[in-house]
Amino acid sequence: MADNLDEMGRFAEPALLILTSLASGSKHGYAMIKDIEQLSGTKLGPGTLYGALARLEQDGYIAPLPFEERRRPYRLTELGRTLLEKQLTNMQNFALAGLARLGLIRL
């Protein structure tokens, strides 16, 4: 099991986007794509989305819910929430350090 999204290789970024999208509630594939597009401007392809989804499900970060008209929604698990929190905190620390070095903020 990957305890870090970096271990997912080229699926690390889509996986982070999926986890962030699911943080606001369960969604099916197409709803995730639309939400991610709105959130980050990135439009995930279906192959990329399901490549990342399968990995996240296999590692227990997301869980499937029952089908709704041939669409299966997914929800974030506690494990997924913890991982997302860790990833976003790391990103926030990195961004703050970068902005401080540019002299734009004081730490």
């Binding site: 099916h28 594939g29 197409y30 794509i33 392809g45 279906p46 192959g47 990329t48 989305l49 399901y50 490549g51 989804l53 399968a54 990995r55 296999q58 590692d59 227990g60 869980a63 089908f67 041939r70 669409r71 299966r72 698990t77 506690e78 494990l79």
Partner: protein
């Protein structure tokens, strides 16, 4: 009329193309995701970028399956060899405890038909048991993770 036929033709062509694309994925993957994935593909136009993305995704899914099999089979082999060796040890222990000594070539010859039958049967049972326990174990692990 012509426009309607064109739309119907393009729709059919797109559905066929997408259906064919889904078949590029491994069977185990399709068992789990085919329905929802096909439904998602209905939302897309069959553009070059989308087709390329799906083809790359199928390649990745095959690679994932291969990785899993690569992990499973050496374990299956090691456990099978272990079980066969234990079984052989038990057979010889039983044979030694009988009044006929095993070191005697004639008694070994007498044991041969028995061994020829028992060893493949034990090997087969060990392999089946390992495969069953492996699949059950993976399912159980997934259920435990999902419940977290």
């Amino acid at each position: 009329m012509y426009q309607n036929s064109k739309v119907i033709f393009e729709g059919t062509l797109r559905r066929c193309c997408m259906k064919w694309l889904v078949r590029l994925y491994p069977r185990a993957w399709r068992r789990q995701y085919e329905e929802e994935f096909s439904r998602l593909l209905e939302e897309y136009d069959a553009s070059f970028i989308v087709i390329l993305d799906v083809v790359l995704g199928a390649g990745d899914a095959h690679y994932q399956q291969w990785q899993m099999r690569r992990w499973l089979w050496p374990n299956a082999l090691i456990i099978t060899i272990g079980v066969v060796l234990i079984a052989l040890g038990l057979i010889f222990a039983v044979a030694e405890s009988t009044p006929i000594p095993v070191v005697n070539a004639r008694s070994l010859q007498a044991l041969m038909p028995f061994l020829a039958l028992v060893i493949p049967v034990i090997s087969l049972i060990a392999m089946m048991l390992h495969l069953f326990l492996g699949i059950a174990g993976i399912k159980l692990l997934k259920e435990v993770r999902d419940s977290l």
